[in-house]
């Protein structure tokens, strides 16, 4: 369990990090908390010649409670997120999901930026960020851009990030649906990643659902929102009946992953079970 030899760089600004990325390109990997990258290095599934450690970049840390959104620095650990008062108030599913990642040691080191850059479809973050209508802030040599989360996850370990871009922050809008949100997980028993992770966020007006966002990790190689579920819920009153109707065919038309823990049929069924659990918790 020793990685191949690599050169180690520890930039202190985003600019420096991007310059290093530009110089070393394909031969480099960004390191933040290391909980996605280091296992891959130790198993020698990847052997970059350069490691660019962004954990020392101050501007990428911290969670800022702004007027309309909460900005989570990409270097924020899952532990920081789980314990953040603003997130607990304005987007409880974000703090809740963070508290369900790995164990205490993992949560104290692993970062949200590193996790979504890795884009493991069974990670907890994709479902939650999709449901939260988050934006991903990407920095590059010319400045920065924000990518809507719906456009971010492109497939198994694939994202919309450019080769010379770094995730510097994630923005969670302060919306009514985020204030009323939750996350539930059917964990893979060994890794405790999600066989099914379901995040649900719902806003109501006069008892009727005005917006519903329901998203899944673990079910498909690309994390997704289930528009059928969302459409079915919109305009209805959230109760046992509307939940049953909306979740009758979760993940229809989606290509579903299969492994020895959960083959396609069972995984699809469990997506429905966990959608019901999540929605029932909000009812």
């Amino acid at each position: 369990m020793v990685p191949s030899k690599f050169a180690y760089h520890k930039p202190s600004t985003v600019k420096e990090a991007i310059a290093l990325l530009a110089t070393h390109g394909d031969d480099s990997k960004i390191l933040s908390g290391g909980h996605s990258l280091v296992p891959v290095l130790k198993l020698r599934l990847n052997d970059p010649e350069h490691i660019i450690d962004v954990s020392g970049i101050d501007s990428m840390g911290g969670i800022r409670d702004n007027e309309k959104s909460i900005t989570i620095g990409a270097n924020s650990t899952h532990g920081e997120i789980a314990n953040n008062a603003a997130l607990k108030e304005h987007a409880p599913m974000v703090a809740l999901a963070a508290s369900m990642i790995g164990d205490i040691q993992v949560r104290n080191f692993g970062t949200i930026g590193g996790s979504i850059a890795h884009a493991d479809p069974a990670a907890d973050w994709p479902a939650v960020l999709l449901a939260a209508d988050a934006n991903v802030v990407l920095s590059h040599a010319g400045g920065q851009r924000e990518v809507d989360i719906d456009q971010f996850f492109k497939g198994l370990f694939m994202t919309a990030m450019g080769e010379e871009e770094i995730i510097t922050a994630i923005r969670i809008p302060k919306t009514a649906f985020n204030k009323n949100s939750t996350y539930v997980k059917f964990p893979q028993p060994a890794s405790r990643f999600a066989l099914v992770g379901c995040a649900a966020a719902i806003s109501n007006s006069d008892g009727y659902i005005t917006e519903a966002r329901v998203a899944f990790s673990g079910v498909s190689a690309t994390p997704f929102r289930d528009s059928n579920v969302e459409k079915s819920l919109k305009g209805s009153v959230l109760n046992e009946g509307s939940i049953a109707t909306a979740t009758a065919s979760v993940a229809d038309g989606v290509s579903i992953m299969s492994d020895h823990f959960a083959a396609e049929k069972y995984r699809k069924h469990m997506a429905g079970v966990y959608a019901r659990k999540a929605l029932s918790a909000l009812a």
């Binding site: 369990m1 020793v2 191949s4 030899k5 198993l43 020698r44 059917f186 028993p189 060994a190 890794s191 990643f193 020895h260 823990f261 959960a262 083959a263 049929k265 069972y266 069924h269 469990m270 079970v273």
Partner: protein
């Protein structure tokens, strides 16, 4: 003083929990080099060529050895330590297990080269540069499939991959006839799946050839240093035994997997003489998955026949036992003499026949794993018992009680002679089941179970009443059964002039707490404070001889050897005391650390006697100075712990998720020295047993690759998978060892597994199935409930 029976805190824990344990990988020797093995990624492949020329040029490389080198040195490989012959009397097939393979790889992980460098990172980098050309062959991993005509041949000279076949018990025709004529026959075909031992400390070995003394030292994470030395010297490398020291320092768990003599141990010893520098090898976790001998892996068909009243009439069992690619040290004994011999269980079954095919496959070797054969036997019997009860509409607890062997203490009543070659020492079986029923509140549970009908939950209860053979073992008996070693134990009790005591034990602690429970025994028997006793183990230069720790034998065999030495110390001490007191030995009593002349207040303390023994100025004529005795204890019989495990599960119908709601274990391990340590052993065993039922299991793909060879995929039981255990004990002392102890290391693991599966089957009894394959995952249960 009464240390025996009290929960003294473990003295070794201070160093373990403060990070001061000293494991093999912690040891750094001057000039030490590091080895990395080049291993076959293929389960079955001819080795066409091995090119080390690039690797040799890499930074820091000291030397690279391949199979050609070990072949040229005439090293035949590591031996098997137990011989089981074919039914027809032919000797078992025992193909060589080379240290480095030169012709073909027989399982993924087979070692092809050892790369030695100044650092491990350099060795690892260079190992990646060793270029091996393979001719990949079809592989077979399933023992039943491996027996078929046309299956891949693991070894050229082992037709149909049969290492040996074996049977035990009453004539098969008689058993079959009884089954054919029975009122009811319960038949189960099941798989007792392969589990990977997963000790927290990976295996590690350092070979050091000291040129100044022409002496070898092997530090290795082993459960039995002397056994390793014997095998290494006499069978592998032909080294003079007095020139080899084997040290098993602190060892972080073994569960059986560290009993065996592994190729890497011989490689680092041999290599260290070749390069005249020490070599350290430590397994990476990924290597542990594919090179540590695994456990279980049986495919079995079993039948249990009953008369109309529910009395067991006969039992037959046919098992394919997967040996893996080579015969590991004790592998042949596990599915035979540690499995077939236990099929009497707690029942009066008058006719039993068991037949086993031991089969080579393209997988890592299988050998003893916590319980070793006895969990397989228990699983077989106890699954049959609950299934039979279900089929016959009988209560599973009552059906057991009806068939239990009557109580016998082994003193007034003879030990119970089984149909399968054993004589149980002492037993009283009904009380453990009755106590378990009381703890569980059986009637209330059945009412709750009924009340749950029609809800989204299913409740189930499962029983397992087991027996095990421990305290392994009487040498003459195991010798007759094919063991190539004796299974006694030795102990030296060395009293220092000041009355402090060093005890050298051939048992080896790799987590069991010997330094505590042995010291309790010594302190009590000698009437001195525990603080005055030091237990030393694990070093062949310190301990004269030893057979090590496995088969729940340490206290029953190793502890008894200590008691024998203490008796000798006190006998000689009495002679010295009598001299000092000017009394006769017959008039002395020994208690609380002093000899007293009966009926007087004249006494002499243990410390004064020990000082006199070493400063023999005023001393009995003709008596040798010193107070220091060794003993070898060879047990008269196995010991036979038994118990009752009861599991309650709750199944969520919608998701198939199974929760263990309660787990009750009533075990009888004979007398108990340290209840806290015994409880800990039981708890750990239960976790492993429940883990096999719900979590663990090696999965191979078509090409013979282990699919779940990391902790991302291989499921280990965790605290949140388990309930708080409810445990109790009955005490039926062992009649044939001086402590009356039976052993507790494996009990939890032996009894638990079938109780869990039985509970699941009880919950699912409305679904018309008879078995569910372990591990019982949510998906499997959901498929049953939803009929797919």
């Amino acid at each position: 003083m009464t240390y025996i029976g009290s929960s003294v805190k473990r003295v070794e824990d201070k160093r373990f929990i403060t990070g001061q344990g000293r494991y093999t990988d912690d040891i750094v020797l001057p000039q030490m080099t590091y080895a990395c093995m080049v291993r076959s990624p293929h389960a079955h492949a001819e080795i066409v060529s091995v090119d080390i020329s690039h690797a040799e040029q890499m930074d820091g490389v000291v030397k690279i050895f391949t199979g050609k080198d070990t072949d040229a040195a005439g090293i035949g490989g590591v031996p098997c330590g137990w011989q089981v012959d074919f039914k027809n009397g032919d000797t078992m097939k025992e193909p060589p297990h080379p240290l480095l393979v030169s012709d073909k790889a027989r399982h993924a992980g087979d070692a092809i080269a050892m790369v030695i460098a100044e650092t491990y990172a350099q060795a690892k980098d260079a190992a990646e540069m060793v270029i091996v050309e393979y001719n990949v062959l079809p592989a077979v991993t399933n023992s039943k499939a491996a027996r078929a005509d046309g299956a891949p041949q693991v070894h050229a000279d082992v037709p149909n991959n049969l290492a040996f076949d074996w049977e035990l018990g009453n004539p098969r025709e008689e058993v079959d006839a009884a089954i054919a004529g029975a009122h009811h026959v319960t038949t189960l075909e099941f798989i007792n799946q392969r589990v990977i031992c997963n000790a927290i400390e990976p295996r590690s070995a350092i070979g050091h050839f000291d040129t100044a003394y022409d002496k070898y030292t092997l530090y290795t994470s082993t459960q039995n240093p002397h056994l390793i030395r014997l095998l290494l010297c006499a069978f592998v490398l032909g080294l003079p035994e007095h020139k080899v020291r084997v040290v098993g320092p602190d060892v972080g768990g073994g569960f059986g997997s560290k009993i065996f003599h592994y190729t890497e141990e011989a490689l680092v010893i041999w290599g260290s003489n070749q390069i005249k520098r020490p070599i350290k090898w430590t397994a990476e976790r990924s290597e542990s998955f594919v090179t540590d001998a695994a456990g279980r892996d049986h495919i079995t068909t079993a039948k249990m026949a009953f008369d109309k009243d529910g009395n067991v009439l006969a039992l037959s069992a046919d098992t394919f036992a997967n040996m893996g690619a080579y015969l590991s040290t004790f592998a042949p004994a596990v599915p035979t003499y540690l499995h077939g011999t236990l099929l009497q269980g707690l029942y009066t079954t008058p006719l039993i026949n068991v037949s086993v095919d031991a089969v080579f496959t393209n997988t890592t070797a299988v050998d003893a794993y916590r319980g070793a054969g006895r969990p397989e036997a228990t699983y077989l019997l106890e699954r049959l018992m609950d299934t039979a009860a279900l089929e016959m509409g009988r209560d599973p607890a009552e059906l057991r009680l009806q068939n239990f062997i009557e109580p016998f203490d082994g003193v007034e009543q003879e030990g119970y002679v089984t149909q399968v070659a054993l004589q149980y020492d002492s037993g009283n079986y009904a009380p453990v089941l009755k106590r378990g029923l009381e703890m569980v509140g059986y009637e209330q549970f059945r009412a709750d179970q009924k009340a749950a009908e029609g809800t989204g939950k299913l409740l189930g209860i499962g029983f397992s009443t087991y027996i095990e053979a421990c305290g392994i073992a009487p040498s003459a008996v195991v010798g007759a059964l094919g063991a190539r070693a004796g299974l006694f134990e030795s102990a030296q009790v060395q009293v220092h002039p000041t009355g402090k005591v060093s005890v050298y034990s051939g048992s080896h602690s790799h987590g069991q707490g010997h330094e505590t429970s042995f010291a309790q025994v010594v302190a009590d028997k000698m009437g001195i404070p525990m603080e005055d006793v030091e237990i030393i183990h694990g070093d062949s230069d310190a301990v004269a001889f030893g057979m090590g720790t496995y088969g729940s034998r340490s206290l029953a065999v190793g502890g008894s050897a200590i008691v024998k030495s203490i008796e000798k110390v006190l006998e000689k001490g009495a002679k010295i005391a009598a001299h000092l007191l000017e009394a006769s030995v017959e008039d002395l009593d020994y208690a609380e650390g002093k000899w007293t002349v009966r009926g007087t207040d004249k006494s002499v303390a243990f410390g004064d006697v020990s000082l006199t023994a070493y400063v023999p100025h005023n001393y009995p004529e003709g008596l040798e100075p010193g107070l220091d005795f060794s003993s070898f204890y060879d047990p008269a019989n196995f010991t036979y712990p038994f118990g009752c495990h009861i599991c309650i599960v709750e199944i969520d119908k919608e998701s198939g998720v199974v929760k263990v709601k309660r787990f009750i274990a009533v075990d009888d391990v004979g007398n108990v020295i340290n209840p806290m340590i015994v409880d800990g052993q039981i708890h750990g065993g239960l976790a492993q047993g429940i883990g096999q039922a719900f979590c663990e299991g090696a999965i191979y793909d078509e090409s013979g690759q282990l699919v779940n060879g990391t902790y991302m995929d291989y499921v280990m039981p965790r605290a949140d998978d388990l309930p708080s255990f409810e445990i109790d004990r009955t005490v039926t002392p062992c009649p044939h060892n001086p402590l009356g102890v039976k052993g507790a290391g494996e009990a939890g693991c032996i009894g638990a597994t079938p109780a869990v599966v039985n509970a699941v089957m009880d919950a699912l009894k409305g679904y018309g199935i008879h078995d569910v394959e372990m591990p019982v995952t949510s998906q499997k249960v959901w498929n049953i409930i939803h009929g797919s």
